[in-house]
């Protein structure tokens, strides 16, 4: 077995941190309690450990390939995706009325992590399909929903997001793809899209492309962009498949990682125009696409956690097996397995603490999303929505940045063997590097955090979060225990540093934007570190309570050690980030442009 889903940690997080029991008080999730979560996660683990995980290294060796417009995926992918659809996994979080399971995002986040740990490349197909489903749910017409969502939820059809063009990456204002209205109400779409994940493949009967394009006469910039459905095969009113639409894959990219996931260049309209159907209203495409993007950003953050977990498990295995040198404390007489060496421990603990912290934050934020969408009380909905929106750029940005460090440590634990491809650790390192880039780079997430999430309300949301953190601090400080005391001390220092950073960012975003945005990524790293750390502090409290009750003693002890490690080795980075943000703005933009 190359991967085992960390079921205990998911269930602990759902119960103690995300408050799954409270979610069941919402009608929509009345059935989605801990027992359901456990049953679903166990099934999910079984499928992904057994079917999907073994295809991961296979996909690196035998990537998806392109020939004459046809993309053939890695051997085994097609069958695994069929099983995925038949198992109901694609519809997990989507409404029952369109064939989904209607489970909360909190559980969905855990299932998403398992799938992505098993196989990042494979998981991208469902991930993009989820985004497309959410966009159609929000902005699609009733006919569109009825026509497209059931086969998508069943995993018979997949979805894509067509945003990027050669000149329009982070800057969607530069999108040039055109859509020409037709007398029948449809459009003809013309243009080139690049970096389209699973833009073409052989795993589904049809592909539902969601495409950003401009209708003639639309305003310049982002306010003139509309969203279209462009199916690969035309769809009859009864859902039957018709002829091939005029969208074609002209090549796929040769990438450093996630090689099994085909990254397509799609050509729309080279043979008369690709038939497209407007989603929602004209010129509101970006708004709809952001629904999809926010869903995808959360999911990409989960990918970071997932690849970190997989790298951790592999490193632990190697550290147990590899015998080399005598321990410095003389605890073993001869050479010992390297897990006995303090620096190997430090690396493994770092990997684990990052992963558990980010996982906790994702589960908690998933539950907030669920409450934001389904809680009966509007105030509660609003508060949860605000919380969720603040966390999305952190989950995306911080969890993926940490995955670079974790997968690098994963290689490092393996020593020279880590650099040999057959070992497998290198794949995680190569795969992870896309995560800080796609669905909005870390800088794009940071801009969101600085602009919309912090400066727009003058830092109010951020300060309210700091108040909540202070409550956790008090609980920790009140415990007569070294781990809790250490945590309280480091959490306080981090919180105060966060407040300094918030004051600086909120205070300078308008008056001196270069200064605020110069610190945007350090601010994201600071806030992500703190928010994940906060969850680890809450986890420490809950684990101590459970330990006192004699519940699952070994697990709770490990959780306490891991939380303490987070505080003492990761949270301690926060004040240095504050110093860079508050004290280092000038030196970022002082260099003359031609002096670089």
């Amino acid at each position: 077995m190359t991967y085992r889903a960390p079921l205990k940690d998911f269930l602990f997080g759902l119960k103690e941190l995300a408050g799954l029991d409270q979610l069941t008080q919402i009608d929509a999730f009345a059935e989605a309690g801990l027992d359901t979560a456990q049953a679903v996660l166990e099934e999910c683990a079984k499928f992904n450990e057994g079917v999907v995980a073994p295809l991961n290294w296979e996909g690196d060796k035998n990537p998806s390939s392109w020939k004459d417009g046809v993309v053939t995926t890695t051997p085994g992918f097609k069958d695994a995706f069929r099983q995925y659809g038949e198992g109901g996994w694609q519809g997990l979080q989507h409404p029952v009325e369109f064939g989904g399971q209607g489970l909360p995002k909190a559980i969905g986040a855990a299932c998403g992590e398992i799938l992505n740990s098993a196989n990042l490349s494979f998981a991208l197909c469902p991930l993009l399909t989820d985004g497309a489903i959410e966009a159609l749910l929000t902005a699609g017409s009733e006919e569109q929903k009825a026509l497209y969502l059931p086969p998508m939820n069943e995993g018979r059809w997949t979805g894509t997001m067509n945003l990027t063009e050669p000149q329009a990456g982070s800057d969607l204002a530069a999108v040039r793809t055109k859509a020409e209205p037709q007398p029948d109400g449809s459009y003809r779409v013309f243009g080139t899209k690049i970096f389209i994940t699973y833009g073409e493949h052989d795993m589904a009967e049809n592909i539902v492309h969601l495409v950003l394009a401009r209708v003639a006469g639309a305003p310049e910039g982002v306010k003139g962009i509309s969203l279209f459905i462009v199916p690969k095969f035309m769809v009859g009113a009864d859902g039957s498949l018709g002829e091939r639409n005029d969208v074609h894959c002209v090549s796929i990219e040769h990438k450093m990682g996630i090689k099994a996931s085909p990254t397509a260049v799609l050509q729309f309209g080279d043979h008369g125009g690709a038939v497209g159907y407007l989603v929602g209203q004209e010129n509101r495409g970006l708004e709809y696409m952001f629904i999809m993007m926010n869903s995808a950003r959360f999911a990409v953050g989960v990918q970071g956690i997932a690849v970190a977990e997989r790298a951790y498990q592999k490193a632990v295995q190697y550290a147990r097996d590899r015998v080399q040198s005598r321990p410095v404390d003389g605890s073993v007489a001869g050479a010992a397995s390297i897990i006995h060496h303090p620096d190997v421990r430090r690396m493994l603990m770092t990997m684990r603490a990052y992963t558990e912290g980010c996982r906790a934050l994702a589960l908690v934020s998933g539950a907030a999303y669920d409450a934001a969408h389904h809680h009966p009380d509007p105030e509660t909905r609003k508060a949860n929505q605000t919380f969720y929106e603040f966390m999305v750029p952190l989950i995306k940005g911080y969890s993926t940045e940490m995955s670079l460090e974790v997968t690098s440590l994963g290689v490092q634990v393996h020593g020279g063997m880590g650099f040999i491809e057959e070992t497998g650790a290198a794949q995680y390192y190569r795969d992870a590097k896309i995560l800080t880039i796609y669905e909005g780079t870390t800088a794009i997430q940071s801009n969101d955090l600085v602009g919309r999430k912090t400066a727009r309300d003058g830092g109010q949301t951020a300060r309210a979060l700091a108040d909540q953190i202070a409550q956790t601090e008090e609980l920790l400080a009140a415990r007569d225990d070294a781990a809790a005391q250490s945590f309280a001390k480091n959490l306080k220092a981090a919180r105060l540093a966060f407040l300094d950073a918030v004051d600086f960012i909120a205070g300078s975003a308008k008056a001196s934007p270069n200064a605020a945005y110069a610190g945007s990524v350090p601010y994201l790293m600071l806030a992500g570190n703190l928010m994940a750390g906060w969850q680890m502090g809450r986890a420490l409290l809950a684990a101590q309570d459970s330990l006192n009750e004699g519940e699952d003693v070994d697990f709770m002890k490990s959780k306490i050690v891991t939380a303490r490690f987070y505080a003492e080795h990761i949270l301690v980075k926060v004040p240095g980030l504050r110093d860079a943000i508050v004290g280092g703005a000038d030196s970022v933009c002082d260099m003359a442009l031609d002096a670089f």
Copy 2:
């Protein structure tokens, strides 16, 4: 041109930081002043920019390959290596009496960086040959030196280091390769060595393998290891090549990076025994090998700086060319090249500051090595040797760890294009990851720093360095200038944190080794950060002085901005590392072994 050697920065570092003028007062280096340095570096740049750099991407696409025991290197490598030898580059730092140029290591470090920036994979062949030359210079007999060194200095023969075996990586005590004495004074060598860089190739007439092996009856562990010369082709007394020796390459590795550098599995003695010649005395092999290792560790540190510089240059080029989005400060009306965006600036400045800081430390340490070996005054020699020995693990450990961050940022600046192999940025990211592993992992460097370099003298050397840093602080604090003031403040905080860490490490290394070694890598990162930062502080002072004289105004301004950036964004990490070392030792080793 894909790479331009940063000649100005080398000359600034050699003049203002490494004190090349003082070195010329040593007889051996009387001719090696700034004019010589400039002439040599210009030639070096010309050769590497024109001949070696264009082969870098070629080597990634067409790695060295193995067939039937024969390794064929990337097309172009053989010819480039011939030119390298003919140009006298292999002998640059080696004694004139054996055909070398006798130049100081300070200049050699600069040339080494240029070569490695041009092509990390190619540069490994000369790098290992340098190490073999140094080992023979120190421990070889006069006959061995006369026989082997001239063709090695000419680049006609190359050298290798044969340490690693499947069960003996970091732990050389586990070496099993055997050497059986023969009546004629030679030995027969039997065993398997793995991870042998350029262990087999087609670029030279002969390969001089330096091999660690045990003579029958030798003590267990590292005290029973001897060093042998095992030439690929037998060598006559007149230097003529004879028959093939019994050492064969049975395979090469499939690696994540440095693909053009063949990493060989070598089989010694499968056909009767490989003829080997003892170097120095029996059972002192590890001692000799450490000479080679220290040379190679310094050189690998320089590799980190080199790949960081190359990644920086590529990122700058892309940031100038790629147009995307409007700047946040409204300084450009429409979309601008991304170098206008604050976070892109921050990434480029981070890359640059790390690279310049580590380069400065390498040049200064190179000059210390030169003084340690050639200065007429024994006290001066000793002081320089102590300085150099403290810095070697930092140069190796810190410069390579920073290269991971820098090459990752290099990909990040490119956005999605960075993940596409053809762009080239990904190669640096993949290549760099070996640097924190080979020639002793970062943890091995840290053990050296903690044990031999810090704890052994009770922290005396470390504290003496802190005193020197305090002097630089005073000079900075005395300047009426924001950059110098900011630097002084951050340098002081970093120095005090270093002293805390030294006290902790020196105080606990014996009494509680797990605690000291739990913080070993953070201590290395702290010390490396500080020592490189110290050099940037010295650079700031020198640059301000030159600026006041009106010398090379643009360069000096850039140096000041970069130094300030280092202080405000990189040095600020130091106190957090101290907190982890001093306050976090317990949580590193607290996890139960079976709880991982």
